[in-house]
């Protein structure tokens, strides 16, 4: 049943976007549009006011937030011991994710880390899938941009906007830092990062201290670069996927509109199904990497020692 729904949605989306792609191709000279997704999210309101910060990517982000909150509100409206369908599904997702998080970060840190990691997974997955819906990237609005004469897609995949992926990564970094400091303290964090590891004692400990300090500096640099690596990974996958779909839609150009249309539909179907899978995988990867970062930074040295003994 679910597979049928996904397949039908895919077909509908492919048909819709294929038609839009051909329309775009036919009128390419008319509006000078991009091939595929524009890396730059466009503002939807003219001028320099607060509304000018609402880009088509932010709009999709807000819609995704709205969808998630609408579902959660429906599920949590009347919480019962014997759950209804929506509550049951939410409980299923939460329980599954909580177990995964608990397995990685441990039962002590899991309650603190779970909300962030679950939100990342749910939000990124829904945003990725939303980008595959018909109409996203293919409905244009006019009179946008600073001068009020531009045009831009009304909706664009939110996670194909680097600002969004950087935003999520920065919040992850902040929450990671808060959890780490709460668990280790400032001194503990500094000791954990720059201090000797492996339970070294005596002369060995002091002899290797310079090396551990250098390792700590490298660790700090890697922490600073984490938001960039996380955001680029997600952005790259989604952006590439969207452009791949667009390329497949316009790959065959015979001049015969009917043949071009059919080819654009058929060629996109396997990649569309692949993107559905990639959407959930990227959400999972983003959340899992953050879970691993939290685990690595909150593990005490004595635990390392115990694990090594085991």
């Amino acid at each position: 049943m679910l597979a049928d729904s996904v397949f039908l949605t895919s077909i509908f989306s492919v048909l819709s976007d294929a038609a839009a792609a051909h329309g775009e191709g036919a009128h390419e000279g008319g509006h000078g549009g991009h091939h595929g997704v524009d890396p730059d999210a466009k503002g939807l309101f003219a001028g320099d006011g607060v509304l000018s910060y609402i880009t088509n990517s932010v709009l999709v982000g807000l819609i995704v937030v709205g969808l998630i909150l609408w579902f959660v509100r429906g599920a949590m409206k009347k919480v019962e011991s014997v759950p209804g369908k929506q509550q049951n599904f939410l409980e299923l997702v939460v329980e599954f994710l909580y177990k995964q998080v608990e397995n990685i970060v441990g039962p002590k840190i899991a309650p603190q880390a779970f909300p962030l990691l679950a939100t990342i997974f749910i939000f990124v997955t829904v945003a990725n899938w939303f980008g595959l819906l018909p109409g996203v990237g293919s409905i244009f609005v006019l009179g946008v941009g600073p001068d009020g004469h531009g045009q831009a897609p009304l909706l664009r995949p939110a996670t194909a906007d680097m600002n969004m992926t950087i935003g999520i990564a920065l919040i992850s970094l902040v929450v990671w830092f808060v959890i780490t400091i709460r668990e280790l303290g400032v001194g503990g964090f500094i000791n954990h990062t720059f201090g000797p590891k492996g339970g070294l004692k005596g002369a060995m400990k002091y002899g290797l201290m310079p090396i551990f300090i250098v390792v700590g500096v490298i660790e700090v640099i890697s922490i600073i670069f984490r938001p960039m690596t996380l955001s680029l990974r997600l952005y790259g996958n989604v952006f590439a996927g969207e452009n791949l779909l667009h390329t497949m839609a316009t790959l065959v150009q015979t001049g015969n509109a009917a043949v071009d249309f059919i080819c654009s539909v058929l060629l996109r179907i396997p990649f569309f199904l692949l993107e559905i899978l990639v959407g959930v995988l990227q959400g999972m990867v983003f959340a899992l990497l953050n879970a691993v970062f939290i685990k690595l930074s909150t593990t005490h040295d004595e635990e390392h020692g115990e694990e090594a003994h085991h």
Binding site: A41, V58, L62, P115, N163, I168, I171
Partner: protein
């Protein structure tokens, strides 16, 4: 570097806007979804654990109750056997006593019946003698044609009775 950022459309206001979008969903989900749901799941897990503990206790109690019931049943069976045996013995004794009573009573009844029968026989015999004597006197008076005196009466009665007794 700035050119790359520009090409990718990266700018601080957009990043802040996107952080707000994600921050909103993070805070709301943390407070109104994940907290209550995890608490609910924890509560359910606790109830299930309690239920399993209770089930274990109930099973233990049931086993103990079954053992007690078996013990009580065995005792009851033994008691019932004893009572049945006693009842049989009592019934046999009572039956014998009643039988003896009935036999004695039957003997009494038979004896009384015999006595009654004897008395009846004596009474009937007496009446018969009187009737027979009267008949003899009547027959003698008609045959002889004379009026019999009391001495004749006495003599005839004695002779007739002696002949009846002899016969």
């Amino acid at each position: 570097m700035l050119e790359i950022l520009h090409k990718l459309g990266i700018n601080t206001p957009d990043i802040i806007a996107q952080m707000l979008v994600f921050g909103i969903v993070y805070l709301i989900l943390s407070k109104y979804a994940f907290g209550p749901v995890t608490a609910l799941l924890e509560e359910r897990r606790r109830r299930i654990a309690e239920g399993e503990d209770n089930l274990k206790k109930i099973r233990e109690n049931l086993a103990a109750a079954e053992a007690t019931a078996e013990e009580v049943k065995a005792k009851a069976n033994a008691e019932a056997d004893r009572m049945i045996k006693e009842a049989r013995e009592t019934a046999a004794a009572a039956g014998e006593s009643e039988r003896q009573k009935a036999a004695a009573e039957a003997n009494t009844i038979i004896t009384k019946a015999r006595e009654g029968s004897e008395q009846e026989r004596a009474r009937i015999l007496g009446e018969l003698k009187r009737d027979f004597g009267r008949l003899v006197l009547d027959a003698t008076a008609r045959a002889t044609g004379k009026v019999l005196s009391p001495e004749d009466h006495a003599r005839l009665n004695t002779e007739a009775l002696s002949q009846i007794t002899n016969n």
